[in-house]
Each structure stands twice: as structure tokens, then as C-alpha cells.
């Protein structure tokens, strides 16, 4: 495999191709929409969705080579490509991967075909535009994970915002306008501040080196020299942008609305990938660029506290949601709290756990939203009270929902456990109280999900509309799209080693770097105090 | 001579301003605007004795623009009148926020 990939120069072109390919697909869809404007809506749906599916499958297939071609142990950026973009400002088109970004890129490319399949029959209007936007979104998300230039990162960050805004706003539910505007503004507030911080970093770089340069590596080298002037505010700007995206408590209220109103594919992508951009931002930018600030006791404890509040609060609020999608949205707040706890605990185990939660939350919550979409298509309701007894009429659906719920609860043997366990056991040595409080969510998580599962699958089958679901169990398309997710849930729960190995080097490098910055800061402070 | 010309210009301008501020008929308003333009023209011409011919060139410009403006403006007013049967400004508030 390695030899083959080297032979075709895979690493030299793959990342730009991965970014361009979905855009091309989107263009094809747009062109096809013009050509096809005379056909019926059903015909248009058939064409557009299969084009999108093939593009996403090809994209996933293309990206799989990265699993082998990326040398995760290397400290250098893998598959890196740098092209000039705006030389006067020192802005480049620079992309590259490390172990962490690799996993997120693969998560994205592998989930997109499933997102398309999940929209297969539920999106019936303006299908060409829908799938084109989905493909543009893919480029934006991949770009965020790959970008090695601050400006490119910012551009990609905004690129993915617009398609998602449109997807929610056009194909969403009843209150879609409210939800999409809220989503857009919330994210925008954070990201504009981030832009200011990025420009500020560029200015500082120019002052130090004499040449404008927005590349990530330069910023990182600058950070090694100690905090830049205004580092606190710059960190805060980055952190706010990412905290909104994660979303950390109390910046989370856009999420339930966006999830509830978004179409299935939107919810899946939102939960599985977009939220991860926030945590990825912390891991890649906010923390390593400002290690002294992020690890300053006051700042750190604020973030730890917010993370733990998010964990418990999200779980408690999920407990009382009547709407299944909202319940899952709040459970996301809780799960993402674990990621933040892991990041700010700053031990290798906790960081690895955070990355593991990142991936497994993508899989489990993605699957949950797909499952919700499946019964929503049949029953047109998301209210738990409208269901009951489905296990006896839709046994396959029941099996799938049970497994996914167990994974989300974090039952050992599923992927959910590995990440949460690593986060907790990794953060306990340095942050025992936060870890213990966070661990209480294992109880609440069981309560809210099992209660929801009971209200959907169990209890008497009294509602005639539910009785009518007999014989309308999951079809082959739905089984096929759930199967890889269910497999991943069990595989990552039983044998997470391959994934852990992919991210281990990057995680421990980050921890080392942050810790050494913190140590030198402490030395400087104690030295200063002695004088 | 210069002082008198500037004084006349100021008086004309003020009359124009007051007219614009106080009258509500679009045509009269329009005439007041023309009055203000011509007041400015007067001061341009008067001051050209001191600063050379540039002011006089500007007057030509202003008159051209004023002619164009008058044409467009009157056309608009006529359009409004056709639409609303009035040129009273208090009734025309499409710009209201």
C-alpha cells in the first residue's frame, strides 16, 4: 500500500484534490440543475442525489489512502502542500495533516456519503442546490482541518458557515429562519473576533520578522518565544470563536435550535463534524498558540469549570426534553464538555480521550440523528410522547437504536466508553474534583437515553399510527448506511488501539509543548518573585 | 464689488436654504435648490477675480450638472405626481425607516 501510494505521489496532491473535488462536484450539480430544469422534481431528486453520492464516495475512497500515507509519528506536517496565494500579505494556501487532523479528515470524508444517504428520500425540493451545498460544506470542513495558514483557516471557517446556514434555512423545519439566523450570528460573533486576533498575530509576526506571514508554523514558533503582546485578548478571541462552535456552556443555546430545525443531513454534519471544529480549534490554535494564557490557573479553571458545568448541565437538561432531537442536542453539549475537560486537563491520556470522544461522538451522535431522521420520515414527529412500543413493529430499528444509545451512554465495549474513560482517568491525577463531578454524568446519561429509548421502543404499542409502522422497518438503504456506523461503534469499543496510535504522537507533542511553556512561565515568575 | 457680490450670494443661498426647509411643494423646493446652486455660482464668479479662471470653469460644470439634475428631478416629480396626484412632500415618505 505504501509503495503504491508513494508511486503515484499520493501525498503530493491528495489534500488539494480532496478540497477541490467536492467543489467540482458542486459545479457539476449546478450545471446539471440548469440542464435539467425541465424534468420533474422526482427525476431531479434521483439525479442529484446519485451525483452527490458518487462524489462523496469517491472522495471517501480517495481520502482512505491517508490512513497509510500519513506518518503520524513524524513531527513534520504530512501530505503538506504550500502554494502562494496573497504574497504581499504573507498569506499562503498551506495545507497539511498530523495524526489529529488525519482522524478528523477521515471522519468527515467517511460520514459525508452517509449524510447523503440519510437525505436520500427526505429532501425532495431543490435537491440539486441541497446536494451542491452539501459538497461545498465538505470542502469547507476539510479545509478547516487541513489549513496551516491562519487566513486560510479563517476563510475555510467561514466557507462552511454559509452552506450550513442555507441548509438549515431552506430545508429546515418550522422555525428554520430563527434557527439559521441564530446559528449564523452566534458563530459570526465569535469568528469575527477570531479574525481580529489572526490579523493581530500577523502584525506581531511582521514586527518581529519584518515580513508579513500568516503561516501556522511561524505563529507557533513565535509562541515558543513566550506570550506575544496582547496574548490574553487574542486567546480570548480565539477561545470565544471555538467555544461557541463546541459549544461550551453558556454559548450552547444555538445548538438545540439548529439541531431541531436542521434536516437530517444537517444535524448529522453539525453534530458529527462541525462541533469538532471548535474542539479542534482549541487543540490546534487556541491552546498551542497561547499556552501560557490557556494554562494560567485562572483561565484554565474557568474552562475546566465551564466544561464540567456543560457535562452535568447538558445531561440534566437532556433528561427533561420532550423532543428527541433536542435531547440529543443537549447530550452533545454534555459529551463535548468531556472533550473540553480532556483538552484542558492537559495529560496525554486525557488529550487522547478527548480525541477519542471527538471521533466516537461523531459516530454515535451521527447515527442517532440518522435514526431520528428515519422514524421522522415515517411518523413526522420527533416528540417522544408520540412513540412507544416500536420494538415490536420495527425490530431492526430497535436493535440499531439500542446499540447507538448504549454507545452514547458510554457502556464499555462501545466506542463511547473508551473516550470518556480516558478523559476521566487522564484528568483525575491533575484535576480530581472536576473529574469526579464529570463522572456523575455517567448516571444521568444512562437516565436520559434509556428513558428516551423506553419511550420510543418499549411500553405498550397503543398509538394506531405506531401500529401502522408494522412492516415498515428499516429498508436496505437504511440498514446499509447504519451498518458501518454500528460496526465502528463496536470496533472502536473493543479495539481502539489503531485510532489511539494515530493520534498518540500528536497528542503527546502538544502536551509536552504546552507543559514546557507552562514550566518556563512558572520559572520566569518564581525567578521574578525571588528578585 | 467683491464684497457686494459675496453678500448677494450669501443672501440668495440663505433664501434657498430657508425655502428648502420651509416649503413643502416639490417644485418650489426644486426652485430653491436651483437658487442655492446659482448663489454658489455667483460666489465662484466673484472670487475668480482673485483666484483666476478656475472658478468660472466650475460654474460651467455646475450649470451643466444643474441642468441634468433639473431634468432628472423634474422627471421624478412628474412620475410621483402621476403616481400619487400630489407633489406635497409631507405625503411622500417612501424613505421612512
Amino acid at each position: 500500500m505504501h509503495a503504491f501510494l508513494d508511486g503515484i505521489g499520493y501525498n503530493g496532491w491528495i489534500l488539494p484534490v480532496l478540497l477541490l473535488f467536492p467543489l467540482l462536484g458542486a459545479l457539476v450539480l449546478v450545471a446539471d440543475a440548469r440542464r435539467f430544469s425541465t424534468g420533474t422534481a422526482v427525476e431531479a431528486m434521483g439525479r442529484s442525489r446519485s451525483i452527490a453520492l458518487w462524489v462523496c464516495l469517491a472522495e471517501a475512497l480517495l481520502s482512505l489512502g491517508l490512513w497509510w500515507s500519513v506518518d503520524v509519528s513524524s513531527a513534520a506536517w504530512q501530505a503538506a502542500v504550500t502554494l502562494p496565494w496573497i504574497p504581499q500579505w504573507g498569506v499562503r494556501f498551506a495545507v497539511g495533516l498530523d495524526g489529529i487532523a488525519l482522524m478528523l479528515v477521515l471522519l468527515t470524508t467517511c460520514l459525508m456519503p452517509l449524510a447523503v444517504l440519510g437525505s436520500w428520500t427526505s429532501i425532495r425540493e431543490r435537491t440539486h442546490s441541497f446536494y451542491a451545498l452539501l459538497l461545498v460544506l465538505t470542502t469547507g470542513m476539510l479545509g478547516v482541518f487541513m489549513a496551516l495558514d491562519l487566513v486560510l483557516f479563517y476563510v475555510m471557517w467561514e466557507v462552511m458557515l454559509i452552506p450550513m446556514y442555507l441548509i438549515i434555512g431552506i430545508w429546515g423545519g418550522q422555525r428554520r429562519l430563527y434557527a439559521s439566523v441564530k446559528f449564523f450570528l452566534y458563530t459570526m460573533v465569535g469568528s469575527l473576533l477570531m479574525l481580529v486576533a489572526i490579523i493581530w498575530i500577523g502584525m506581531v509576526v511582521r514586527r518581529v520578522t519584518g515580513a508579513p506571514d500568516f503561516s501556522y508554523d511561524t505563529a507557533l514558533q513565535l509562541a515558543r518565544l513566550g506570550p506575544i503582546p496582547g496574548a490574553f485578548w487574542a486567546f480570548l478571541a480565539f477561545a470565544l470563536a471555538f467555544a461557541v462552535k463546541v459549544p461550551m456552556w453558556p454559548f450552547h443555546t444555538w445548538l438545540p435550535d439548529a439541531h431541531v430545525e436542521a434536516p437530517t443531513a444537517g444535524s448529522v454534519i453539525l453534530a458529527a463534524i462541525m462541533l469538532k471544529m471548535g474542539t479542534f480549534g482549541f487543540v490546534r490554535f487556541a491552546v498551542p498558540l497561547f499556552p501560557e494564557i490557556a494554562m494560567a490557573p485562572a483561565v484554565r479553571s474557568v474552562f475546566l469549570a465551564l466544561a464540567v458545568i456543560g457535562i452535568v448541565y447538558g445531561a440534566l437538561v437532556a433528561l427533561v426534553q420532550p423532543d428527541f432531537k433536542k435531547l440529543v442536542a443537549y447530550s452533545s453539549v454534555s459529551h463535548l464538555g468531556f472533550v473540553m475537560l480532556g483538552i484542558f486537563a492537559m495529560t496525554v491520556e486525557a488529550m487522547q480521550g478527548a480525541l477519542m470522544v471527538t471521533i466516537s461522538h461523531g459516530i454515535s451522535t451521527g447515527a442517532l440523528f440518522l435514526l431520528i431522521g428515519m422514524i421522522y420520515e415515517r411518523r413526522h414527529t420527533r416528540l417522544l410522547a408520540d412513540y412507544g412500543g416500536l420494538a415490536s413493529v420495527m425490530p431492526l430499528f430497535a436493535v440499531a437504536l439500542t446499540i447507538v444509545a448504549l454507545s452514547s451512554i458510554g457502556v464499555p465495549g462501545t466506542n463511547g466508553f473508551v473516550g470518556e474513560f480516558l478523559v476521566l482517568i487522564g484528568s483525575f491525577p491533575t484535576q480530581p474534583w472536576y473529574a469526579v463531578v464529570a463522572a456523575t454524568s455517567v448516571i444521568i446519561a444512562a437516565a436520559y437515553l434509556l428513558w428516551a429509548v423506553q419511550r420510543i421502543l418499549y411500553n405498550p404499542l397503543t398509538n394506531p399510527e405506531n401500529q401502522a409502522l408494522r412492516g415498515r422497518d428499516l429498508n436496505w438503504r437504511e440498514l446499509g448506511l447504519l451498518a458501518p456506523l454500528l460496526l465502528a461503534i463496536v470496533w472502536l469499543g473493543v479495539y481502539p488501539k489503531p485510532v489511539l496510535q494515530k493520534t498518540e504522537a500528536a497528542a503527546s507533542r502538544l502536551v509536552q509543548q504546552v507543559e514546557s511553556a507552562r514550566m518556563s512561565q512558572q520559572r520566569a515568575q518564581t525567578g521574578g518573585g525571588a528578585r | 464689488m467683491l464684497a457686494e457680490s459675496l453678500a448677494l450670494s450669501a443672501v440668495l443661498f440663505t433664501i434657498g436654504v430657508v425655502g428648502v426647509l420651509t416649503r413643502r411643494n416639490a417644485i418650489i423646493l426644486f426652485m430653491c435648490v436651483e437658487l442655492m446652486l446659482n448663489a454658489v455660482n455667483l460666489s465662484f464668479v466673484a472670487l475668480s477675480t482673485l483666484y483666476g479662471a478656475t472658478g468660472q470653469v466650475f460654474v460651467i460644470f455646475v450649470m451643466t450638472v444643474a441642468a441634468a439634475e433639473a431634468a432628472v428631478g423634474l422627471a421624478i416629480i412628474i412620475a410621483i405626481f402621476r403616481h400619487r396626484q400630489t407633489v406635497h412632500l409631507d405625503d411622500i415618505n417612501l424613505l421612512k425607516g
Binding site: 431492526l396 482517568i425 487522564g426 473529574a435 455517567v442 479495539y495 488501539k497 | 426647509l21 421612512k96
Partner: protein, 730 residues
């Protein structure tokens, strides 16, 4: 951390024990096979477009999967046999029988290796979570303790699987049932065979999951689904304790494997705060799984599951996991006398408390459920006072007689249900007030259950007598010359606490004798209360069900001989004690200050005499005072009053928990957190508030836009004047 005891070079490494993973694999394969069989019959993938309209007429085409659950809460069903039932009957018990055979062979290999085995045999299979300083391999630990547990689990498990073939064969969910049951055995085996706490935790949560699925097996009834959910959530409270204990172990000892912890424990301070905290958190985990105060509330509700499940999971195996865990952590617990006393006190209190409730239950399974809680309390008293062998011994005998009692009650319920089914009556097949005199119709079940009753009541020479006596004797012995006697517990001297525990133990023994005799009397003696039509249909269950009962009857009768006290044993004495010595001996010795505990023969006879006397008194009192003839069927029974009513309602503990914990949590989450903080303050005040603020400012600004050109001209002129003024007066 896992290489400290490599597999090679161990006396077992070249024996069949190296294939111990097969014991685990077999039930897992059974689960997969049965699960697939269950799904293939259920699977009719739906139409390509799920939102397409469907006529209701074709909605029910050819669907074999009808959960037909009668409205009464008994649990034998006849809604049509599953098409794959034959295969399932072969696979389900088959894999267990083979696993048991394999366990026996491994056991013999261990016996063969003889005295040579002092270190556990650790079999590393593959890496599970390797990252940073945390290295958790999937490794199995075969030693004397896990061997005993494996034998119990696979042995009793096989019998209960066989019983289930008869009991469940007409249930439409038959393959699903066996899939769950096999999965349970897999997780239970993983629990006892895992070589580290995280692996035990996988099994720990896995058995909880299977318990959840099996309690809610007949999920179409809300009560059953509720019971399953309650079991899982309450267990999770315990699991939280288990997790924290693991965090503490990893943070302080740097290892989570048993061997690593044992090595690290040497550096811990005797009676120190750290080890006490670890042990208390572990014990919190145990109270959840093993249904001790305050987390016992799920077990009685768990009786909503099929009766063989109650026998296997909620009596013989899963609920004893907490006892196993403490025995496994003997090294740690023996370093923490305060934690040990806590375990003993909680165990004793649970034993008495549950026994009081058992006195007044009418549902035959509920009696047995509270009896199980009470007996588990006994086991905790045993392991709490450092008599790990005694605790495990009681675990084993209890597995025999309680499995027998549950399966026997299953037999009774089956017979009752068949009778009611034949007459199309809808009475409660589990309420003892509807039974009576069944000994005439079910002589085998009746006599076998009497054996178990005598065993649990502690009548010699039945098995329960020996194990219970050993626990009580150990408690008595610890009151002098032990770390426990010297320690204090909440300011009370340890010896005083232990005397109290002993007294509670005797009280529980008395009540056990009473409620068990009551149960037997009301079920099997006196006149029959089913009604004339049903009486003709009451008969003994088929052999596939009574067969396992007979085996369990033999084990209940003679199981005590596996660990006879030295007092009468001679050469045959203390077999189990010697067997477990390499695992728990060190812990016990530390508790008894380095010397084997010794009571004088006179004391020992006195203790035995007391225990037997109390059991006899209990049985006699119940036999003479209770009048089964005075009972009437449920439908005619008056409501209970006074203390009886309180006991029947289980001291209203469930209601109290609901009021104090559940409702406040839900209420606060709903009104304060969600409606108040989330949608009210954060979303309403801040988010939408920001929106309103922006809109308000915009509105203010828009008010300047009158749309009147005159106003604009005024503003323009005023502005020009202001600018001019500004320039002139600068």
C-alpha cells in the same frame, strides 16, 4: 504494567488453561448466533422510501414477531413458537454446556498443577487501551478465585439455560431471550476472568446491560420497561463509585491490573485515608451491583423479568459480583479496617432490613428477591470482616439454593399459568394467596424447594448452614484480636460494631427462617385456592425443567461439604478454604493480625447451637402461627393495615427516593435549568436579549428616517452649521 507476570513459565502455561479464552468465546458466539436468528425472523426490510404512503391493510403482512403479553404480570407466554426455536434450543444451552465442560477441564488442570500455583496465571490476549501511561491489555486472570466463579457461572448457567428451554419455549421472543442470556454469561465470565479492574468493569457494565435487557424482556408493559431502566440507572450510581475507585488507583498506584495493584498496595499505609477512600468507592460500586443499602431498590423490581433470569442473574451470579469484587480486592480491603467495618455494617443492616420486607410479601418472587438482598448482605458481612472464603462459600451455596428456589418458583408459576391459561382466567399466577396446597400437584418441586428452604434457613447438614455459620463464626472471632476490633468506626470501637453485626446476623437468620417457611406454607400447604376449574390443570412441569431442579437440589443438600469446618471435617475439612488460600489468604491473615483465627471448640459449638436454635425457632414459629387455611385468594383478600402494610410497601423506600431524588432532579432540571436558565436567562435574556437590543437601537435609528425630505434638509443644515461652528470656535 501487564508484563509483571508473564504467562510463560507459569505452571499452567502449557496446559489447557492457555485456551481459557475459549470459555469466553463460546457464549459470545452463542449470542451472535441467537441474535442473528432472532433478527432473521424479525427482519423484513421496509420499502425504499419510508415516507411513502402505506395502506394500513398491508401493514401487518406475514409478521411473526408479535409480542403478545397478557395483561397480568405473570411470565409464561404462549403466543406462538418461534420458527428458529429448535436451533436456539440447541445453541443456547449447548454453548454453555461446552463452556462448562471446558471450565471443568481447566479446573482439573489447575488441580493437577496442585500446590505449585501461588501466582495467578495471566493470559494477555491483545491491547485494549494503550495510551500514555495507561496500558490496559485485554488479559484474563486464571486463579483459584476466578476458577470457582467460572465453575459456578457456567455450571449453574447451564442448568438455568436448560430450564429456560422449557420455560420460555412458547415465547415469540425465544431467540432474543437466549441471545441476551448468552451475552450475559459472556460478560459475567469476563467480569470474573478479567485481569484488571477496567476489564472487570466491562463485564460489570455488560452484565448490567443484559440485566436491563432481560428485566425489560417483555417490554410492551411499561412496568417491565421501567424496572429494567431503574436497574440500569441505579447500577450506574454504583458504577460511578467503581470508576472513581479506578481513577484513584491509577493516580496513586499507576496500575489497574490486579497484580499491579497488589504490588502497589504494599506501599499503602495501613488504615490510611487513601486506601480507605478507594475501598469505600469500590464498595459503592458493589452496593449497586449487589443490591445493598442504599442501592438495593432495583433488585425487587427486577423480578419483572422471566423467572430463570431472576435465578441466574438476580440470585446466582450477577448480584454476587460485588462480593467477588471485594474478595478480589482483599489486599486493599484488608488495609482499610474502617472500610471493612462499613461493608460489614451495611451488609448486616441490609440483611435485616430486606428480611423484614420479605416477611410480608405476597408475590412469591418478591419474597425470594428480598431474601436474595438479605443473603447478599450476609455475604458482605463475610467479606467485610475479612472472611473472604466464608463470603465466597456463601456465594456458592446461595447460588445453589437460591437458583433452586427461583427455578422452583418458576415451575410453580409455570404450572399456575398453564392452569389459568387452560381456563382462560386472568388471575395473578405469582401471588401466593392464589396458590396453596400445590404439594399435591407438584411433589418434586415441592420437596426440592423444601431442601432449599432448609438450606437457606441454616438447618444442618444442608449447604446454607455451613456457609452462614462460617460467616457468623468469623464475625464473632473478629471481635477479638483483629485489626477490625482495634479500629473504630464512626467513633465506635470495632469490637462493639462487630457484636452488633453478629446480633443483626442472628436476627436476619431468624427472619429468614420465618419468611421462607411462610412462603413454603402458603405455596405448597393448606388447601388449594386456585379454584375448582384450575385444579384439574395443575401439574408438574416437564422434565427439561425439573431435571435442573433435581441437580440443584443435590447441590443445595451437599454443597456445604465443600468447606466443612475443621471442627467436624477431619481430612475433608476446609477444602474451599485451602483452595482460595493463595488468592485471599494474605488479606485474611492481615485482618487477623498474622495468625489464623481460632475459636475454642466450646465457643464454636455454642455459636453453632445458637444459629441452629434460631433457625429451628424461626421455622417452628412460622409453622405453628401461620395458618394457610385462613388465606383467601387475592380478589377476596382485605387490604393490609399497620406495620404489615408498611412492610408490604417496602417501608415506602421507593416512594421516598422518588420524592427526594428523582422528582427534585427532574423538577430542577425542567423548571430551573431548562426553562429558567437555558431558555429563560441564557437564551432569553442574553441571546435574544442581544437581538432585541440590536433591534431596539435599529428602531431608534429608524425613527430619524421620517421619509420627509424636509426633515433631512433641516438635519443637514443643522449639521453643516454645527460643523462650521466647530471649526470656527476650535
Amino acid at each position: 504494567m501487564h508484563t509483571d507476570l508473564s504467562a510463560s513459565g507459569h505452571p499452567l502455561s502449557d496446559t489447557v488453561a492457555a485456551l481459557a479464552w475459549l470459555i469466553l468465546l463460546l457464549p459470545l458466539l452463542g449470542f451472535v448466533a441467537n441474535g442473528l436468528l432472532s433478527l432473521t425472523a424479525a427482519a423484513h426490510p421496509g420499502p425504499a422510501d419510508p415516507s411513502a404512503d402505506h395502506g394500513h391493510g398491508d401493514a401487518s403482512h406475514g409478521h411473526a414477531h408479535t409480542i403478545g403479553h397478557a395483561a397480568d404480570h405473570d411470565d409464561a407466554h404462549h403466543a406462538g413458537r418461534h420458527p428458529a426455536a429448535k436451533w436456539v434450543s440447541l445453541i443456547g444451552p449447548g454453548v454453555l454446556a461446552v463452556a462448562f465442560g471446558f471450565a471443568l477441564v481447566t479446573f482439573l488442570a489447575m488441580r493437577g498443577a496442585g500446590e505449585a500455583i501461588h501466582a495467578p496465571y495471566v493470559l494477555t490476549l491483545f491491547d485494549w487501551i494503550p495510551t500514555g501511561a495507561l496500558q490496559i491489555p485485554v488479559a484474563l486472570q486464571l486463579d483459584q478465585l476466578s476458577m470457582v466463579m467460572v465453575l459456578i457461572i457456567t455450571g449453574i448457567g447451564t442448568l438455568i439455560h436448560l430450564f429456560s428451554v422449557g420455560y420460555m419455549q412458547d415465547d415469540p421472543g425465544y431467540p432474543r431471550y437466549f441471545a441476551y442470556l448468552n451475552l450475559f454469561v459472556f460478560f459475567m465470565l469476563l467480569l470474573v476472568l478479567g485481569a484488571s479492574y477496567p476489564l472487570m468493569f466491562i463485564g460489570w457494565e455488560g452484565v448490567g446491560l443484559c440485566s436491563y435487557l432481560l428485566i425489560g424482556f417483555w417490554f410492551s408493559e411499561e412496568a417491565n420497561a421501567n424496572a429494567g431502566k431503574k436497574a440500569f440507572i441505579v447500577n450506574r450510581i454504583g458504577d460511578f463509585g467503581f470508576l472513581v475507585a479506578m481513577f484513584l488507583l491509577f493516580a496513586n498506584l499507576g496500575s489497574l491490573s490486579y497484580t499491579g495493584v497488589a504490588a502497589g498496595a504494599a506501599g499503602l499505609e495501613m488504615g490510611g485515608a487513601l486506601v480507605t477512600t478507594i475501598c469505600l468507592f469500590l464498595f459503592l460500586g458493589a452496593t449497586g451491583k449487589s443490591a445493598q443499602i442504599p442501592l438495593y431498590v432495583w433488585l425487587p423490581d427486577a423480578m419483572a423479568g422471566p423467572t430463570p433470569v431472576s435465578a441466574l442473574i438476580h440470585a446466582a451470579t450477577m448480584v454476587t459480583a460485588g462480593v467477588y469484587m471485594i474478595a478480589r480486592s482483599a489486599t486493599l480491603f484488608s488495609l482499610a479496617p474502617a472500610a471493612q467495618l462499613t461493608v460489614a455494617v451495611v451488609g448486616a443492616l441490609t440483611a435485616v432490613f430486606a428480611a423484614t420486607i420479605g416477611l410480608k410479601q405476597w408475590d412469591i418472587k418478591k419474597v425470594l428477591a428480598y431474601s436474595t438482598v438479605s443473603q447478599l448482605g450476609y455475604m458482605f458481612v463475610g467479606v467485610g470482616v475479612g472472611a473472604y472464603t466464608a463470603g465466597v462459600f456463601h456465594l456458592m451455596t446461595h447460588a445453589f439454593f437460591k437458583a433452586l428456589l427461583f427455578l422452583g418458583s418458576g415451575s410453580v408459576i409455570y404450572a399456575m399459568h398453564q392452569a389459568y391459561h387452560a381456563t382462560h382466567a386472568h388471575a395473578d399466577a405469582q401471588d401466593m394467596r392464589n396458590m396453596g396446597g400445590l404439594r399435591r400437584y407438584m411433589p418434586i418441586t415441592s420437596s426440592l424447594m423444601w431442601i432449599a428452604t432448609l438450606a437457606i434457613a441454616g438447618i444442618p447438614p444442608f449447604s446454607g448452614f455451613f456457609s452462614k455459620d462460617e460467616i457468623l463464626a468469623a464475625v464473632f472471632a473478629r471481635t477479638h484480636h483483629s485489626t477490625l476490633a482495634e479500629a473504630t468506626w464512626l467513633g465506635i470501637p470495632g469490637s462493639v460494631v462487630l457484636y452488633g453485626v453478629y446480633a443483626l446476623g442472628l436476627a436476619a437468620a431468624l427472619m429468614t427462617a420465618v419468611y421462607m417457611t411462610r412462603m413454603m406454607l402458603y405455596t405448597f400447604h393448606g388447601p388449594n385456592r386456585t379454584g375448582p376449574a384450575e385444579q384439574g390443570h395443575l401439574r408438574e412441569a416437564p422434565w427439561i425443567m425439573t431435571g435442573p431442579l433435581v441437580v440443584l437440589g443435590v447441590l443445595s443438600a451437599v454443597g456445604g461439604f465443600l468447606n466443612l469446618p475443621a471442627l467436624f471435617g477431619g481430612g475433608m475439612s476446609e477444602i474451599l478454604h485451602h483452595w482460595l488460600e493463595p488468592v485471599v489468604g494474605e488479606g485474611t491473615l492481615r485482618v487477623t493480625l498474622g495468625e489464623a483465627a481460632h475459636l475454642s471448640h466450646a465457643t464454636e459449638y455454642a455459636l453453632i447451637g445458637t444459629a441452629v436454635a434460631i433457625a429451628v425457632i424461626g421455622i417452628a414459629v412460622a409453622w405453628t402461627r401461620l395458618k394457610p387455611a385462613a388465606l383467601v385468594p387475592v380478589s377476596e383478600s382485605p387490604a393490609e393495615q399497620g406495620l404489615a402494610r408498611t412492610l408490604l410497601n417496602k417501608w415506602y423506600v421507593d416512594e421516598a427516593y422518588d420524592r427526594v431524588v428523582v422528582q427534585p432532579t427532574l423538577g430542577v432540571s425542567r423548571t430551573v435549568l431548562w426553562k429558567g436558565l437555558d431558555t429563560g436567562i441564557i437564551d432569553g435574556l442574553f441571546v435574544n436579549g442581544a437581538g432585541f437590543l440590536a433591534r431596539g437601537l435599529g428602531w431608534l435609528g429608524s425613527q430619524l428616517q421620517t421619509g420627509r425630505v424636509g426633515t433631512y434638509a433641516w438635519v443637514l443644515v443643522l449639521g453643516a452649521v454645527a460643523v462650521l461652528a466647530g471649526f470656527s470656535f476650535r
